[in-house]
Structures are given as structure tokens and as C-alpha cells.
């Protein structure tokens, strides 16, 4: 079973909670996909909400009532300082040390600002947070994040919401082989179940996605499809995949076949 910061997660799918047709649909998708956690973003307005209506506010109490652990995130933060403040707020509101750390560096690609990310990760880890860093597939940055105290890495496989799937398999493969014992979760860019299966076949530990399910024609069915794909990819990885070959190999042995001359 997947274990992150000492917590055992019963499945390898983590879902976002944004862009769904309704909060009810989030709950149905989480159940249909068997998601083991959900991530939720904190905004300035939501903090006011918490102040006004007690811990949570309505949307958050719905998210909390899903029955799975909540992984608050710092989506929309552009500096380490902003992300740290948001993380501290999230800890109070959700009563958890988990934080999915996002520090955006480019407005068009929503690419992580890895410098600010490492800085924020160091400070938050020192403050006792259990940091889930949303990062690129850069190996050196990954090392720095681990040095900073992160116990897990969450590389993108393509820009957030782009639905492009793994665009650099070599980099993902390289991360996996460099960090065989660190939980690795692909965090962004997954568009279809086959993308999820592909990264699971590489030996990734889990997949986090939002848009691909939330904006699907039928989010609940799509959650189910992703769940199946993730399990298939994981099982295939355990089973040991064939390496591609340049030469055709017949399934049936040719030696010993009867010859007609």
C-alpha cells in the first residue's frame, strides 16, 4: 500500500476539487474512482469565509465530509512568501500538516518557479509541514526538494490542465530510477486514462488529476476509467514489462517446424 509521511493511502488516485459541475459530483467522482485523497485550493475569499462562518465555510465542509484525507494546496501563489502564508492558513483551517506546495513561475504555462519552490519547501518543512511539492521533471530540483526535507515528489508530466499527457518520458523514467524509494506522484498534465496508465507503468506511485475528470462529459464515469487505468498500469509494472525490440519475434517457435521441400 502507498505510504506517504506515514499515512497509508488505499488507492493511487488523488483528485482535485475544482471545476466540477457541482459539489455533489465531486463526491460521486471520488467514490466512483476510489480516490484516496482530494486536494483543495485556498483563496483569500475562502479565508474570509472561514472567519465568517467558522472553520470551513460550506464548500469546505462538503469537501471534508467526503471521507478521504484533504490535501490543501497553494494554487495561484507566485512567491515563496505567499505560498507559506497560504500553507499556514490551510493548516489552521483543515487541521493537517499536509500541504501541496505550488509556486507558479509563468503565467502561460503555470510552470512551477522551482527556485521559490525549494525556498518555500525548506521553510515549511522546518515548520513541521509535510510538503507535497508540485515540481517540474528536473532531477536537480528534485534533489534539492528532498534535501529541503520533502518526503515525496510531485513532478508534472505536462502543463496543468493541458491534457497533453507525458511529454518527456525519459525525464520521468530518470526520476523514477534515481529515487527508487521516494514516493513519486505525477501531478499535472494528465488528459486521459491511457496517460495515467503510461506513468504507472513507469513505476510511479500515484496520479493526481483534476481537469481530466472534472471537465469530462461525465465526470463520474471518467473517474472510474482513471481508476481502472491506474490499476492496470500499476499491475503491469509489477508484472514486468517487455522492452521494445527492433526485430520481430514470433510467438510460436519456428525451430522444429515441419518443412516441405
Amino acid at each position: 500500500m502507498l505510504e506517504i509521511y506515514g499515512a497509508k493511502l488505499p488507492s493511487r488516485l488523488i483528485l482535485g476539487t475544482a471545476q466540477y459541475p457541482s459539489p455533489d459530483t465531486i463526491g460521486e467522482a471520488v467514490r466512483a474512482g476510489g480516490a484516496s485523497a482530494v486536494t483543495v485550493s485556498l483563496r483569500r475569499e475562502s479565508a474570509q469565509d472561514a472567519a465568517a462562518t467558522g472553520p470551513g465555510g460550506k464548500f469546505w465542509s462538503i469537501v471534508r465530509s467526503l471521507g478521504v484525507p484533504v490535501l490543501p494546496n497553494t494554487a495561484g501563489c507566485h512567491t515563496a512568501r505567499e505560498a507559506i502564508t497560504t500553507a499556514q492558513m490551510a493548516r489552521e483551517v483543515f487541521d493537517t500538516n499536509w500541504i501541496k506546495l505550488e509556486v507558479i513561475g509563468n503565467h502561460d504555462t503555470l510552470q512551477p518557479d522551482v527556485f521559490e519552490l525549494v525556498e518555500a519547501a525548506r521553510i515549511l518543512c522546518d515548520e513541521g509541514f509535510e510538503v507535497f511539492p508540485y515540481t517540474t521533471d528536473d532531477l536537480v530540483v528534485a534533489e534539492r526538494l528532498l534535501e529541503a526535507g520533502c518526503g515525496i515528489l510531485m513532478p508534472w508530466c505536462a502543463p496543468i490542465g493541458s491534457a497533453r499527457g507525458p511529454v518527456n518520458l525519459d525525464a520521468l523514467r530518470s526520476l523514477r530510477s534515481h529515487f527508487p524509494d521516494v514516493p513519486l506522484i505525477v501531478d499535472a498534465g494528465i488528459g486521459r486514462p491511457s496517460h495515467a496508465a503510461t506513468v504507472m507503468e513507469l513505476g510511479y506511485d500515484a496520479v493526481l488529476l483534476n481537469t481530466a475528470v472534472a471537465r469530462a462529459g461525465a465526470p463520474v464515469y471518467m473517474a472510474r476509467a482513471f481508476s481502472a487505468a491506474i490499476k492496470a498500469g500499476r499491475t503491469a509494472w509489477h508484472a514486468g514489462l517487455l522492452e521494445p525490440r527492433d526485430i520481430a519475434v514470433p510467438s510460436t517457435p519456428v525451430i522444429g517446424m515441419a518443412t516441405f521441400t
Binding site: P21, S22, P23, D24, T25, G27, R43, R44, E45, S46, Q48, D49, A52, T53, G57, K58, F59, I62, G161, R215, G217
Partner: protein, 322 residues
């Protein structure tokens, strides 16, 4: 049959109308000294049951389809039946495809036809989706007109008052939105702008698709345009954030650069009352009927829900006298 309607937003006014139509004596009470409520006051006023299908349940389209006729029967001069036009910047063409796939009641229009429909957008977009059967109205004007008609028909308005007593009424219809004690409500905050410019003329609501910030621009006549609206999971009704205003202005500017010279007439913030399925409901609690959770579909769904609420309220007396 005496019925007290609490709340003079679109739900309360529609409920009052449906109750009057059934012969009830209606009193409408609202804390504010005008009709229009809070969420309704900042509404877009689009009667767009087919466009809304993009993110809403099929039921919204089914029930909302009759809304235009309801409003037009009562306020023939207030309803503009010019359809809705949906466009996307060339870069976001896939958003337009997605929108088309998820909705019905539209046809694709090319650059030429788009220019004929909305000359100011000529040459700015290659293609769009035209929802011909949709309509729009000016919410504030429509609600004021509805108030006048109701008052003329004997409906009593007590505006700027709190509810003192309900004992003298046979039934109460609670249409107070976020202020209602009904269970399961949450707030979805929306920020909007009113812009004025003589540089642009539009005949219908335009929806500009964008993967992150979809917005709509609704013409209100005399150079006035409503630009909306953000959707934030929060019941906070504090002033609009700089980011939201920036995003709305950016989108308006992307639709047409002449919006850059427009005057900002108003920056509004409303909180939409919604249930967890984002679909409204009518429920009965003793002699009180609650109509709530209209979310972003106030003008679209209030007529049908008001009819349900009115029928239920009238049933209270029948039951009492039966």
C-alpha cells in the same frame, strides 16, 4: 388566502406573481428598501438554458426552456429574443469545440455571419456558436417592472422592513436566499462589472470562452454592458478583488479593445445561494415554503420553481380547510 413572501429578489417576485395568479393576497417583505434582492441584483439576466448545459444538469435546460416565454408574457418589452453568441480566441478553438459538444440548440456561424450578427465583432473571430432561441433581459429593470405590475394588482410591498409577525398569514414563502435558515445552502461568490461605452454596440449576450476565465458580456442598452462573472466557492460578500476585476476587464478587452476606453460604472459582488447539486429546490417546513438555491440560474429557473412554491403554498390552506 393570505401569503407572506419574504425576499424581493427574483425568486420572491416570481413567487408573488404565481401566488397572485392563483388568487392569493400577497405581501412581499424585504429588508432592503428596494426590490431586487442581493444575488439577483448582480445577475446577468441571460435566459440561456442551452448554453448553461455546458456546466449544468440536463434539468436546467428542460425547466429553463420555458422561462423566456414566462418573462415575455408578463414583460413583453423587457425581453430581447436575439439569441446568444459564443466565441473564443483562435488559440482557444478547442474550448469552442468542447462547448459545442456539450450543448445543443446551436449552430456554427462563420466569420461572415458572425459579422452580420454583431458588426463590431466583424473580423475579430473566425467562427462562433449561435444559440438562436435564447434571450436576455435587464434584471434590475425587469424586477422593477414586475414590482409595478404586482403592486397594481394589489400586492403589498413592505420594503426596508424586517418581518415582524407571520401569524396573520396562512402561509409564508421564504425566498431570502443566503439569509434563509434552510439546510444545505452554500454561497458561491460572483463579481461583476458594469461598463459604459459608446464605441460598441451589441444585440445579444456574448460568451467569450477561455480555459481559465470564461466571461460573458450582456448589453443593457444605452451603451451599458454587464461583464460577468467570477465563480468563487465562498460566501464572503466583501468588495471585489483586484485580480477578479483585472480578469474581467482583460476578457472584455479581449472581446473588443474599445472596452479599454469604457467607463467603469459599477463593480458589484453578489453571493449565489446554492445546494450541493447546484439545483434549486422548493421545500415545506410547517406553514413555511422555502424556495432557494437558484445558484447562477435565478432568472432562468425562478418562474418554474415559483409555480411549484405557489402551488404548495395554496395547498396549505386547502389542507387546513379540508
Amino acid at each position: 388566502m393570505k401569503v407572506l413572501v419574504m425576499g424581493a429578489g427574483v425568486a420572491g417576485l416570481a413567487a408573488a406573481w404565481e401566488l397572485r395568479r392563483r388568487g392569493a393576497h400577497v405581501t412581499v417583505v424585504d429588508r432592503q428598501d428596494r426590490v431586487g434582492g442581493t444575488a439577483s441584483w448582480f445577475a446577468g439576466g441571460m435566459l440561456a438554458p442551452w448554453c448553461e448545459r455546458e456546466s449544468a444538469d440536463e434539468k436546467v435546460t428542460e425547466i429553463g426552456a420555458a422561462a423566456t416565454d414566462w418573462w415575455a408574457d408578463i414583460l413583453p418589452d423587457r425581453v430581447e429574443r436575439n439569441g446568444t453568441l459564443v466565441v473564443a480566441p483562435a488559440r482557444d478553438g478547442s474550448e469552442l469545440d468542447r462547448f459545442a459538444r456539450r450543448t445543443a440548440g446551436h449552430r456554427t456561424v462563420d466569420e461572415t455571419e458572425l459579422g452580420e450578427l454583431e458588426p463590431v465583432l466583424s473580423g475579430r473571430f473566425r467562427r462562433g456558436l449561435f444559440f438562436e432561441a435564447e434571450a436576455h433581459l435587464d434584471p434590475r429593470a425587469a424586477m422593477r417592472s414586475l414590482q409595478m405590475l404586482l403592486a397594481r394588482s394589489g400586492c403589498i410591498f413592505r420594503l426596508g422592513e424586517d418581518v415582524a409577525e407571520t401569524d396573520s398569514f396562512d402561509a409564508v414563502v421564504d425566498c431570502t436566499g443566503m439569509a434563509s435558515p434552510v439546510d444545505g445552502l452554500r454561497g458561491v461568490r460572483g463579481e461583476m462589472l458594469l461598463l459604459r461605452t459608446s464605441g460598441i454596440r451589441l444585440s445579444r449576450p456574448i460568451r467569450l470562452l477561455h480555459p481559465r476565465i470564461p466571461v460573458y458580456v450582456v448589453p443593457r442598452g444605452e451603451g451599458l454592458f454587464m461583464v460577468g462573472a467570477t465563480m468563487i466557492e465562498s460566501a464572503a460578500d466583501s468588495s471585489a478583488s483586484a485580480r477578479s476585476v483585472m480578469e474581467l476587464l482583460n476578457a472584455a478587452y479581449a472581446l473588443h479593445p474599445a472596452f479599454g476606453d469604457a467607463e467603469i460604472v459599477e463593480i458589484g459582488v453578489g453571493v449565489r445561494p446554492a445546494f450541493a447539486d447546484n439545483f434549486p429546490r422548493v421545500s415545506r417546513h410547517g406553514d413555511t415554503i422555502s424556495l432557494n438555491g437558484l445558484y447562477r440560474h435565478g432568472f432562468l429557473l425562478a418562474p418554474a420553481l415559483a409555480a411549484d412554491a405557489a402551488a404548495m403554498a395554496m395547498g396549505i390552506r386547502e389542507a387546513a380547510h379540508g
